[in-house]
Amino acid sequence: MGVSTTSGLMQGKYAWLKLLLITAIVALNGYAIIMMYASGEYAFALLNLVIVASGVYVFTSKRAYAHRYIYPGMAGMVMFIIFPLLYTVGIAFTNYSGTNLLTLERVERMHLARTYTAQGGTFDFAMLESGEGKYVLQLVQDDKVLVSSPLSPISNSELSARKQTLESSEVKLSHVEQKPELEVAQIRAITQNRQFLNSLVLVTPEGDELVMSGLRKFAAQAPLFTKLDKDRVLQDSGVVIPGGSALRNNQTGELMMPNMETGFYQYIDGNAEFVGNRVTPGFTVNIGWKNFERVVKDDGIKKPFVQIFIWTVIFAGCSVAFTLAIGMVLACVIQWEELKGRAIYRVLLILPYAVPAFISILVFKGLFNQNFGEINALLNAWFGIKPDWFTDPTLAKTMILIVNTWLGYPYMMILCMGLLKSIPEDLYEASAMDGAGPIKNFFNITVPLLMKPLTPLLIASFAFNFNNFVLIQLLTSGGPDIIGATTPAGTTDLLVSYTYRIAFEGSGTQDFGLASAIATMIFLVVGAIALFNLRLTNANKSV
């Protein structure tokens, strides 16, 4: 429709309301974007900016009237398909993992918050009742006795009832010759006021600061690391360490710096070379193509990757072939008008498709169970065999193909039934004049005529099975495992489930970077299939 039919939303009596709404949205999101940017989440800040900016443009510009209709849907696609995809590709070039989870800033802050027991040593600590619910804190080291003035603590329960947290507060201590003659409170008094005590910083007359280090201990604590704000020249070599990055260990005097290649802090020697052990936790750094190199070079990853890739292609290919073969034959049989009871057959044959897949897969998981499963019970009763469906790689793969064929043939049947209707009847009448039987008809007329419209759907089905995560995850979880793999990897794993397990199953060593690298490679494969399919569909249309 032409321009003259579109009515601008910017006019009319609600224009002010719209303006107000837009201002509010811009203000709120502007705040959020700044917050995200400040916390180093640049990707999210950018995403938010793009979504909000394009949204504001689309809903205020008259030229983008048509885009208003597609904006919500497209925003959803950008947020939940394109952004995660790009984010994943981004992660593939980092060492993001269970050990390198945080940003450098966060890790630095964690290091700076660490303390050690410094000069001044440890004091034995007791609470003395001074009456009226007040306590005197008494600290003893050898023959030195320090006490505080009577304090009225706030108990844990009170704190939680008022939903408060305590600011740390300083309390001055003073020397006394003897322990005061007050009754020592029971240990319960300490546990009840633990949060309060934790928040105290006791200052000795010498100026040492003591904090609680155990139920009955207070100790002088000092920050373990100090940040070097200015450049420093190393005496041995004259190498200059830039300020703002190195941390000095106050206990040993050593210097440590973030190693931007490994993503860990490490101590350095006189030549500013990294020498010491990695100091956990690690932080996330860009490591370039290393994740991809590992897939190509590291045997512990390469071998399972290649093996799994081959199996994925075989699995997807076989699934399509089996489901298509069964589905097409059944569709032809069901369309045979001479056959009675076709409607009932049709419904029963579609049944596997109608049952939610996650239920049928789990049903099969139970039925195939080696010890308790009904399938093995029957096989044992009839043939005296009990196949190891879950521990033998070949049998496990066979089982997966059986289950997937069961799950998938009704879809092919439905597709073929729809397409069969478009084959003109007179073709069969003509072939009957030529004396062809049903088998000949099937291979000479039905199959060739179905294959062309089916091809894009078969490719889509191939791509779906290529990524059939649910089946593998629910049925075998990838098992049995591949021996010699350094990441979780199973003989029945598909590339997707393999990737998923690298990211989420490796206990403690969840390697998001590697998983994303493999995911990126799968994206490329799937993207190529999709593009190819699109070309094919377009070509079909233009014919």
Partner: protein, 378 residues
């Protein structure tokens, strides 16, 4: 009731491609006139109608309805009614709802709405069908509902977009007559698009002939005039070929003697023709094209057989009331409308008589020379 004025109207669908669909269209449609846009498919006649309706925007130029500038006015405020080729009846509404849909949107009171719907269905004979859904109706009935939906809106201009093209031949004739009657009754301005020149000739007060736009041409409005004017004095070869059935025959030749009453032309077939056209603007030796209508040709020996054209008979069709002889004249198709049971065998050589007064003549650009006589066969 209103007049419609188009000034220098141009339509370009995609500014990236400098390919106009319509160019420099100037029309002055008076109040109450029945105007037909006619032309082959792709000439932009429907586009022009949709531009008047407001369904397409106007790239440049000016549209006035009832004296008001309408370029940027949405369809509803142009006070036009439109009958679509597909009728565009709302399938989920019955006839009454179909007809009062627009009136309800305009928030008219119920009494007015009912009056108008009853009146319209009365005129169109739809009253017993008002509770039916469109799919329960025949093609002709649907057509009437579509018209009725227009009438209840009481538009100042009715727009018809090839309204009869989905009907069979018999029904088409019947509906054509009904539309003509309706125009007399409503007495309102009607703009009607068709590719069928018979509809155009029979219905129109004036016809607008459009051609597919040649990129170099200044306009694709070929001629705007009364039906018989177009038949007798086509402005150019395009209009001459488009109006009239069967189509006009064309034969190329050379001007050998010019004049302001008659001119002499030598055809490339060798035949020499004297035509009643004014060629004073041309030069002797110019390439020209002779046109003659199949129904104007006569048998040799007829009183009006002033000149002769020779050709070979290819097919003869006997329709009972008349015969059509399809001939080959020096490589050109040539049709001769002859008397019933005219004897002509395929392969036979045939001479056909051409009256001087029935000749049309076009210069090398296709522009017609003025005719100086009006042919009367009897």
């Amino acid at each position: 009731m209103a007049e419609v004025i188009l000034n220098n109207v141009r339509k370009n669908y995609d500014p990236a491609i400098h390919q106009d669909t319509l160019r420099d269209i100037n029309l002055n449609i008076a109040n109450g006139e029945f105007i037909v846009f006619v032309g082959p498919s792709g000439c932009g006649k429907s586009t022009l109608l949709r531009m008047i309706a407001g369904l397409e925007d106007i790239t440049s130029g000016e549209l006035k309805i009832g004296g008001n500038y309408m370029n940027d006015v949405p369809p509803v405020d142009r006070n036009v009614g439109m009958v679509f080729q597909s009728y565009a009846l709302y399938p989920h509404m019955d006839l009454r709802e179909n007809m009062n849909f627009g009136l309800k949107l305009k928030k008219l009171d119920k009494k007015t709405i009912d009056e108008r719907v009853d009146h319209a269905s009365d005129i169109l004979g739809l009253t017993p069908l008002l509770d039916r859904k469109p799919k329960e109706l025949s093609g002709g009935q649907r057509q009437r509902v579509a018209i009725g939906r227009c009438i209840v809106q009481q538009p100042s201009v009715f727009l018809f977009d090839e309204p009869l093209s989905n009907l069979d031949a018999a029904l088409r004739v019947k509906m054509r007559i009904e539309i003509a009657k309706l125009h007399k009754e409503l007495n309102s301005t009607i703009i009607y698009v068709t590719h069928d020149q018979v509809e155009a000739m029979t219905l129109a007060d004036k016809i607008v002939v459009l051609s597919p736009l040649n990129p170099d041409a200044p306009t694709n409005l070929e001629q705007f005039g009364e039906p018989l004017e177009l038949y007798h004095n086509p402005a150019n070869k395009f209009v001459a070929g488009f109006i009239g059935s069967p189509k006009m025959n064309f034969l190329a030749g050379e001007l050998v003697e010019k004049g302001d009453k008659t001119s002499r032309i030598r055809l490339y077939t060798g035949d020499e023709i004297v035509a009643a056209v004014d060629t004073s603007s041309a030069q002797v030796g110019d390439k020209v094209e002779l046109g003659c209508r199949p129904e104007h040709l006569v048998e040799v020996g007829h009183a009006h057989a002033d000149c002769q054209i020779t050709g070979t008979v290819q097919v003869t069709e006997h329709l009972g009331s008349e015969s059509y002889v399809y001939m080959d004249v020096d490589g050109n198709d040539f049709t001769f409308k002859a008397r019933p049971e005219f004897p002509a065998e395929a392969g036979q050589e045939l001479k056909v008589g051409l009256p001087t007064d029935a000749c049309y003549l076009f210069d090398k650009d296709g522009v017609a020379f003025p005719r100086t006589a009006k042919y009367n066969k009897d």
